[in-house]
Symmetry: C2
Subunit: 298 residues, 2 copies
């Protein structure tokens, strides 16, 4: 009466969606079911492997809290996050080109990663978010313009990174609070500047299920040194990106596949003395400059 043979199960699941009112959801779920079933069929998952997968997903969910996002880490390390970012960027670039495009190419996006923390402090230009943190000081400066080269004033740079040992505030224990993150706003000429540390390479959190998976895949967990930025201003499309440290290890094997050539930035080392913003440094420091370019909102 209701017999489903193995070869009919996929279609049977799809047929249950005749009453689905959400066309996009139906399209996504149809593709999800087809690809998930094709995966199961291709490798003939055993029942033991299946229950292990259930336990892996459960442990991944259990690992998540307000400071740890193991599913983002899973998506990142399987290249899924970067694929989503890259495909959406291609789509946006096509839309931009077909609307006439711009004189300059916009800043490339990369993965957000699991360490974004909403509501970081708003600080004045020139502030130092790396005070009392391990790491060598670095001065970041540059300009935000649109793709015609026009400066964007009052543009927000929402910045975050690990310390000079690759540790994010979220990993520093419950009392650490927000460190090495802040929101800056460009001045009337679109300029920004702030101090932090020079980021170093670090392993993604590998003491959970994703770490076990990476080890079993024979992979290292390291990311090249980088600082994260979300750059957004009214009337423009925001971009979530990194600046990568040009002399960092692991640029050619980022554990989350996020490196873009256009985002690799040289960090210049300076002897102690007067920095470009007038601050007097009694130890060596670095400087990095990068100009962001945002696409006008559609």
């Amino acid at each position: 009466m209701a017999q489903l043979e193995a070869e009919d199960i996929t279609q049977a699941v799809l047929d249950r969606m005749t009453d689905c009112q959400d066309a996009r959801f139906k399209q996504v779920m149809t593709a999800l079911v087809k690809h998930a079933h094709a995966f199961i069929r291709e490798v003939e998952i055993s029942e033991e492997e299946w229950i292990n997968a259930i336990m892996f997903l459960t442990a991944t969910g259990k690992m998540c809290d307000d400071k740890r996002q193991e599913f983002i880490l899973l998506s990142d390390t399987l290249g899924i996050s970067m694929l989503v970012v890259a495909l959406n960027q291609i789509k946006a670039a096509k839309a931009f080109a077909s609307s006439g495009g711009g004189a300059q190419t916009p800043t490339e996006a990369t993965v957000q990663g699991p360490f974004y923390w909403e509501g970081s402090p708003e600080l004045p230009l020139g502030a130092d978010i790396g005070t009392d943190m391990p790491g060598e000081p670095a001065y970041y400066h540059g300009r935000v313009t649109d793709t015609e080269g026009q400066p964007i004033a009052n543009c927000c740079l929402d910045v975050w990174s690990g310390d000079g040992e690759g540790v994010y505030d979220m990993q520093m224990g419950d009392d650490a609070g927000m460190r090495l993150r802040a929101r800056f706003h460009t001045d009337a000429q679109g300029n920004y500047r702030f101090w932090s540390i020079k980021p170093t390479y670090y392993p993604v959190p590998d003491d959970g299920p994703v770490g076990q998976m990476l080890r079993r895949m024979g992979r290292h967990p390291n990311r090249p040194g980088h600082i994260h930025m979300k750059v957004y201003a009214p009337g423009h499309q925001s971009v979530t990106t990194h600046l990568f440290v040009a002399d960092s290890p692991f640029l050619d094997s980022d554990a989350v596949f996020g490196v873009r050539n256009s985002l690799i930035v040289p960090f210049t080392q300076h002897a102690p003395g007067k920095a470009p913003d007038g601050r007097v440094m009694d130890a060596p420091y670095h400087s990095a400059t990068y100009d962001f370019r945002l696409v006008p909102a559609a």
Copy 2:
């Protein structure tokens, strides 16, 4: 230096597994990455959809505890669990046929579902596991043989079901303990018998992420009435299966795609009086009979 274009990301992830020492794990992960990326590419998942998917998986993990397995429910309702069961059964049947096969076909398997609870009480044949539970009494009896028709003595039937309103003990609150589940062992002739209730159709737990998904897919959450059994004996392959109630609604649209024709069993209604095991019933009761057949261990 490390630039990955969107079309190269999938291969880049696979290339990272050159040091993987576990050939089966490598095969499974290779297929998983390929199919997951193909899914993302096919429907061009937006960044908002991606983060919604991350939040869905996280909520699904958070919903899991020792009495609730939302990832099994997700797998069940997407037909993945039944596909795994069916493919493994085909594989086992082929192996069995190529080793000479048997005079009779073995009992078909179906999904285990999220309500199995290890270590249920061992009870003597004839015991009633439905006492004080809502539902009409039902007498279950039959025999366990191998595929040559030889009785299997001391074979364990690990039995569980919801009550006559479709509620499992795991859903009855913290104090309920184990109800409507037990382990019985066949007698020297391979016979089993026990009392419980006649199971009714019920909705799978739909107050969590999977319930939301089903509603958005336009699907009902119901399963036809059934009783679960794991049947196992030394020297034989175990089978995890159900007996489905022949007159139940939803036999043709089981929310987890688990119905097999060979597992649909008529429940005969009887007037009050003496039951086949001598028990005197002062209310109407049902009886159901089913003979299990196990394949010899490989």
